[in-house]
Symmetry: C3
């Protein structure tokens, strides 16, 4: 596990500095690196394509951006951090006094040493993000500002990777790939998704697993628009974000509140003994907002460590690779692994011998010696599975109602199905 944690952290470090936005070459570069680990199907959707209520925007790329003082020294420089330019800034090349420039500078007065992350996707604007301390140290006078960006017809880029399963029903794992120079949000989610996909491929999973790497909001909307007829296949889903910070795990339920994925995460987190929090759905956060919009209402929850906007490093330059640890990444991966193991074994069975208990003894499934009071877990598990095998309870229900471990219940179901006593 430590091995996987270290590998995921190395991936985060490599992906971290890229100049991502909701479109452009930063996303492509990110997907290229992911593609070294997983075969990806990359989609390029042209600017202007109508997607649900939205339209694919122009593609934005930035090559250089700086503010230079009278001496030509770059006091703010994109080369130092992808955060320094306001996302989707229109090009600018001008000289202006600091007083005029201030209207284009974004800082965090309460966190004066940190650079904020800011964008202006849908309003033509240019700007720079910098530390308040840096701004405070700038003398009045004239500055040169230059943003060498292009905002032009192009494409929105996203990618999918599929791990085929025994059934067509899919588990969707989605993570956003649009944030520049932020580690926990969301290269950590990307790294966990990559390693999860690799692990799943090593076994033939029951469900088909679809991994989606797309820019936030517009990417999810684009995917939904292009897969509208196929979203019925999504039996379960998880939005992965903020997967590597020091906080404990938080699961946010789907809009349905009691979808299979909600029940599984609640069960697995409780059974694991991990400190964790389960939250009700809210229509804010990451792309669960789109998957759980009322027209789709997909059974998609969201797994993070510290949630959206609840840590001081959030959307600042302090969300860097040091903020993300191998152990936290490995722990998030383990939660996914445990949850998907339950999801893949969970079934709804019907007893083929529902009248009275079937005679387990003659099938070799029951202790021959009667009268003893230490009924074994495996036998109790069989009795529970048989008693609730009425088509109305799945194995997770049985585990919860019996208080027995899910694996004991699933093993019992396998034994009973093997003896011809159950059908799925």
């Amino acid at each position: 596990m430590t091995g996987a944690g270290e590998e995921m952290h190395a991936l985060v470090e490599r992906l971290y500095p890229l100049r991502r936005s909701i479109t452009g070459d930063g996303v492509r570069a990110t997907l290229d690196i992911v593609g070294e680990h997983l075969p990806l199907e990359v989609h390029e959707v042209p600017t202007g394509t109508p997607v649900l209520d939205w339209t694919v925007p122009q593609e934005w790329n930035v090559r250089d951006a700086y503010v230079a003082d009278a001496s030509g020294r770059r006091v703010v420089d994109l080369a130092a951090s992808a955060l320094h330019v306001l996302g989707y800034s229109v090009p600018v090349a001008a000289r202006m006094p600091l007083s005029e420039l201030r209207g284009h500078l974004h800082t965090l007065p309460d966190q004066p040493s940190l650079v904020p992350y800011r964008t202006s996707y849908y309003k033509p604007e240019w700007g720079f993000c910098l530390a308040q301390d840096v701004l405070d140290a700038l003398p009045d006078g004239e500055y040169e500002v230059r943003i060498d960006s292009t905002l032009a017809d192009g494409h929105l880029t996203y990618a999918e990777h599929v791990v085929p399963g025994e059934v067509e029903e899919e588990v969707l794992v989605s993570c956003h790939v649009c944030h520049p120079a932020l580690a926990n949000d969301n290269m950590a989610g990307v790294a966990v998704a990559v390693f999860l996909a690799r692990e799943l491929a090593e076994r033939k999973p029951h469900h088909t697993y679809r991994f989606l790497f797309a820019p936030g909001t517009i990417g999810a909307i684009t995917w939904l628009a292009r897969n509208r007829e196929r979203v019925g296949r999504v039996a379960h889903g998880l939005v992965l974000a903020c997967a590597g910070d020091p906080g404990s795990v938080t699961y946010k339920r789907s809009r349905r509140g009691d979808a299979g994925i909600d029940r599984v995460l609640r069960h697995v987190l409780a059974a694991s003994g991990r400190p964790h929090e389960i939250r009700e759905f809210t229509p804010y956060g990451y792309d669960e907002r789109q998957f759980c919009s009322p027209g789709f209402d997909l059974p998609v929850g969201s797994l993070t460590r510290t949630p959206y906007a609840e840590y001081p490093e959030y959307h600042t330059s302090a969300d860097d690779p040091d903020f993300v640890s191998p152990a936290a990444l490995a722990d998030t991966l383990a939660v996914c692994r445990e949850a998907f193991a339950v999801l893949d074994r969970n079934r709804r069975y019907v007893s083929l011998s529902p009248y009275g208990e079937p005679q387990l003894g003659r099938r070799g499934l029951y202790d021959a010696l009667g009268g003893r009071s230490d009924a074994k877990q495996a036998q109790m598990a069989m009795l529970w599975v048989l008693n609730l095998a009425d088509g109305g309870h799945d194995l997770l229900d049985v585990a919860e109602r019996s208080g027995l471990p899910f694996d004991a219940i699933a093993d019992a179901a396998d034994a009973l199905a093997g003896a011809g006593l159950l059908k799925a």
Copy 2:
């Protein structure tokens, strides 16, 4: 508000002494005074009219009633308080020793200085109510008793006032007008109803509001009998009683328990921060007993301050105008105002853009600058309304689930409906 409280208290004082019963001129005099504030439609229903399982009784009027001692001094006198005569006493004019008279005298041994309120509507009887202290001071000997009453065919009187709204669905506000010389029970309820009706008329309310001023039990039964085909219009209702005592507010749920009025009162009282109590329905109390009988099962709750029979002044001469305060009357009025404001704005919307989030930015409904974590309440309200605009949730549901103020939710819905994103 203090103004309204003082005005309501003045109305209580004026209405208080009248000789009300379930029929007769005391009710008419009460409605005449109410009619000075509100136009009333007064109904006179003849004695003998069958009303549901009941029959409109004979009309009772009393002109004089006293017990006089040997010297001719009136030791109990109707002129001093309308409580002194047993309601619906048959006429009597006789002389009798105290020992015989005692069988017709009603006192409160545990509250010896107070006069009780007693009636005998359905069993022919005569009697007087007086303080135990007064009775104890009466010397033995002969007394003259006289009740100059008439019990004869006549009418049962009740009145309605309607504030027309945008829709025909009605909110019924009902208060009983049959208790003589009791202030909190129920001239306080009458006063709050009068001022509520006047306030509602100043705005065009969404619902039509119907105010019913009727004698308890038989009055409500008569109204129900005469409006049997129209009770389906009652979308919500509130029985107002005991509206001015020093206690905090109590809301008693309708028989349904989760009717709109129940949800609104629960929400408004909780949101207001007032000390208050919510109680389950019981088939005892005021006219909610009739409105919530199983055949009608109307969504009618009951709002009081201290409930029915739970204060020592209840049904005694201590329930006088001093027991009722302007501040308490104003507070009860405020609760009604707040509740009806929610009731009138509450709607069930369906999103016209339910697939993904609609793009609020291009409609001017969303901040242009992305990345900031201080999502504003108005934007959160819009996201919540859109997410739950599936026809299965009303705005009150949205407010409760989001934890946002109802008004913020309703404002968001107005903005979204204005932008063509919702339909009611």
Copy 3:
């Protein structure tokens, strides 16, 4: 009551020593004694009869069984206790060293002075049960072992007793009769059932009560198999076991969880003020396992004092008549009596005057004098019954919702039905 307790205890003492098993003469002797108290219909079902997933086994009888030492002294002797032979032991007559014999000896190392109860119904085996202390004292050397048993085609025996009621819907009371030389488990249950049946016969009960005395598991399965078309008549049921130990009462819900019997026991135990415990259904314990198998899913709960396997005397020689007290037996009987009294009076009524309150006064059902605040329990009960007489609530619901005693509610319903205001 003490009388019944003593009589039940005497019956336990008499039944206790018999050599019962799931078939054979011990069961017949048990039923003979029960038959002295109650007329029984005894059923004999031939070996080999298919019953649900099972087959009626061969009949087992044992005449003598012992282990004798070199001197001929019987160190283990069936004559001392029916527990000493492993149930369903095949015959054996042999000499062998202790080292070889040990494989056939069953003890309780943690309770070294007690003899365990053990069986081997479905695997041909022979053995003895004895105290660890006795075993430890046996010198090495050769022993004579002899079990004079027969395992041959015969019958499985069970019996029924019916107390006819006003309706065909049945209450099933079932207790297992297969355990040799154990008092609480289950001659205590048998004794309570016997006295319950006798009490019920003294009044004409509403329901028909069917008492089943059958060997555990295979007996219940046989009864179910032979009554498969008639189990729909079972409106309620109770498995009675462990009815006389010093612990407080435990009710284990039916698989349905909210069946009438579950609601009644919950109510009666709470109302009685007894210390008690209510447990959720589990598919382990006594014959509720069979009655509540998913194909039947009968509304059958289980009443015990200390449950199955939760007392140290369980399935040992310490479960003797001293472990069972007259007071505990009488208390279990009282719980059944109280529960069945509620079950028999519980009805679902519909008001014939559901619009407004009916006028109770003119029917002599209501106090004539109004204004008093001390509404009596009987009148409150009538108002509650009328208000909830909508066909959707039974009297138990009314009792629970009103907080009034069930008998007050049922009395009110009788009075109202008598006045023509309700129909069942």
